[in-house]
């Protein structure tokens, strides 16, 4: 339904998203884009929503470039693709009662013919909130309630796809679990497609079947969530997986794929800074090689392209163990 085609986005001279291509097929289960801050994941969301213009490439809505839609096409695109921003971004107008915020979306829906629109109270109850809360202003609600209101507003225009940008990262784990339940319910009951953008691999499985791992503005690994999480092919995916805190987990991150963040001069500044695209030198070599525990000389010379890895999977790593590929020793990447 929505797809990014060779999407490249620049802010000034900094390339934040680099030649990213992926698809969000209609009612296919969720798709996740994973990356840490500075990886360009929020920029991808904004480009898909038409809030920033790509420097190269296109965003296609049902095959048509969203930058070239006519009035009717644009209205259709707007109503079918809706964002759910994270609560921390002031996604609700602080001066408006939340009922008024939802009414604003309903007003848009009533412009187009179709089934009668629900009321704000219906929408609030759909997301598990008391209709009385419509009279409150955002600051009078808890973080979880605000996130539900944001979802209710998106549902007001009867969308087919939700773009969820860190929908739970500002919330307590208990509240996060309930919001994820709500989103999973919407997916199952309404056949709502979802694109989940997050830094936390642990919540991906709950909502998504396909995952794209983003590093420094590039997709470094793609594939079905199950196989990517159980047997990551890219060392960065392994690092992300091992960083997820686990109950009864060991105190130190697991040994094998441990990143070079904790020790040595290469780690100075911490992964948050190293991972930022603007902190990287010119685009020769693999952007991940400074943090990569299995980097070889070749990684400094040549940026690995995204190539098929296994059934339905692609990975951008010279050392990935491809069934038919000539590169890399057989134990690399797949060791764990």
């Amino acid at each position: 339904m929505l797809s990014a085609e060779n999407l490249t986005v620049r802010y000034g001279r900094t390339t934040v998203v680099h030649d990213v291509t992926f698809e969000l097929p209609e009612s296919s289960g969720g798709v996740a884009v994973i990356g840490e801050s500075g990886s360009g994941k929020t920029t991808i969301a904004r480009a898909l929503l038409g809030l920033v213009d790509p420097a190269h490439g296109r965003v296609l809505f049902r095959g048509a470039d969203i930058a070239r839609l006519n009035r009717a096409g644009r209205a259709r695109y707007r109503s079918q693709v809706q964002p759910v921003f994270q609560d921390g971004s002031e996604a609700l107008d602080p001066r408006m009662r939340v009922g008024a915020s939802i009414d604003e979306a309903l007003r848009v829906r009533r412009r187009s013919p179709g089934a009668p629109a629900p009321s704000a109270a219906d929408l609030l109850s759909d997301v598990g909130l008391d209709a009385e809360l419509a009279d409150r202003r955002p600051h009078q609600l808890s973080g979880g309630q605000r996130q539900r209101v944001i979802i209710a507003r998106a549902l007001a225009v009867d969308p087919k796809l939700l773009i969820l940008d860190e929908p739970t990262s500002a919330l307590d784990v208990t509240v996060q679990a309930r919001i994820l339940d709500l989103l999973a319910g919407l997916r199952d009951e309404r056949g709502l497609s979802q694109l989940l953008i997050t830094h936390n691999l642990a919540i991906v499985e709950r909502l998504c079947t396909t995952v794209h791992v983003l590093f420094a503005g590039r997709i470094v690994e793609s594939g079905p969530v199950r196989t990517v999480l159980t047997a990551p092919a890219h060392p960065y995916t392994m690092a992300l997986r091992d960083a997820v805190p686990r109950l009864g987990g060991t105190r130190e991150p697991a040994g094998g794929a441990r990143e070079r963040t904790g020790d040595g001069p290469g780690a100075v500044g911490g992964p948050g800074a190293v991972g930022r695209p603007d902190a990287l030198p010119a685009a020769t070599g693999c952007p991940y090689r400074h943090r990569c525990p299995i980097a070889v000389d070749r990684c400094a010379e040549e940026n690995p392209p995204l190539l098929p890895f296994a059934e339905g999977r692609t990975v951008a790593c010279h050392r990935a163990d491809r069934p038919s590929g000539p590169t890399g020793p057989p134990d690399a990447g797949q060791a764990r």
Partner: protein, 295 residues
Amino acid sequence: MSTSVTTVPHRRTPAHRLLRTARADVLAAIGAVTLVLIVIAAVAAPLLSPYPADGTDATHPTQALLPPGSEHWFGTDGVGRDVLTRVLYGARTSLTITVAVLAVSAVIGVSLGVAAGYAGGIVRDVVMRITDIFLAFPALLLSVALAVVLHPGVRGAIIAITASWWPWYARMTAVTAASIRSRGFVDAARCLGVSRVRIVFRHVLPNSLTPVLVQLSLDAGGVILTAAALSYLGLGPQEPTAEWGLMVQQGQSLFTTNWWVVTFPGLAIVVTAFCFNVLGEGLRAALDPRREVTR
């Protein structure tokens, strides 16, 4: 702490908040009450003043420069007019000028500022350069120069002061509007397909207004003083119109011998400017939408 969120009673209107603040901020409350009294006095000047004719063009040379007493509480001026009456009528002129200057400045400034801040790009550049040109001159100098060109009088004073006043609001609003444009709720509205006009009027404008409202009340004192300065230079309202600045100017030579002629209109200026100022400070606190959860 966010623990109190659930216990906060909802349905609080700005008026409720203002009341609550007023109770807390006694100074702002005193300012507001005094201003209301001044406005009532200005409106009811013909009824309140003992010698209504003195407010316009009557003169009584035989009763010139009488000191304050039971007949004339504030004394009389050089041509025998009751100073109390002149101060009451002067409130009309001074307040008219103030309200007109602030209203016109706010409308021009906020419109241009929101347009510049929300549209960005060329619109922003053009508006900002125009405000730069106006701000390049010292405010009082610009007003004086304009007042010289224009016909001296109430209307001339209003235009002259407005010309140097609006760019501040344009600047301020442009900055606020630009920051509001990048907030999540504006993005959300754009993604819903809400029209640009509606986004501006429902989201950007209301959220840009608070700092301007506060600034307006803080500035009112400044306008009164500027108007007084223009009158003082003979560029504002002319005789026989009663205006505080003009009265001070005419009375200054008499200060050592007949202090009351200049003191009472001077006090009126100071008190009114001060009241607007404390009210502005109070408004700043009252209009913060998050004020309720701070405790």
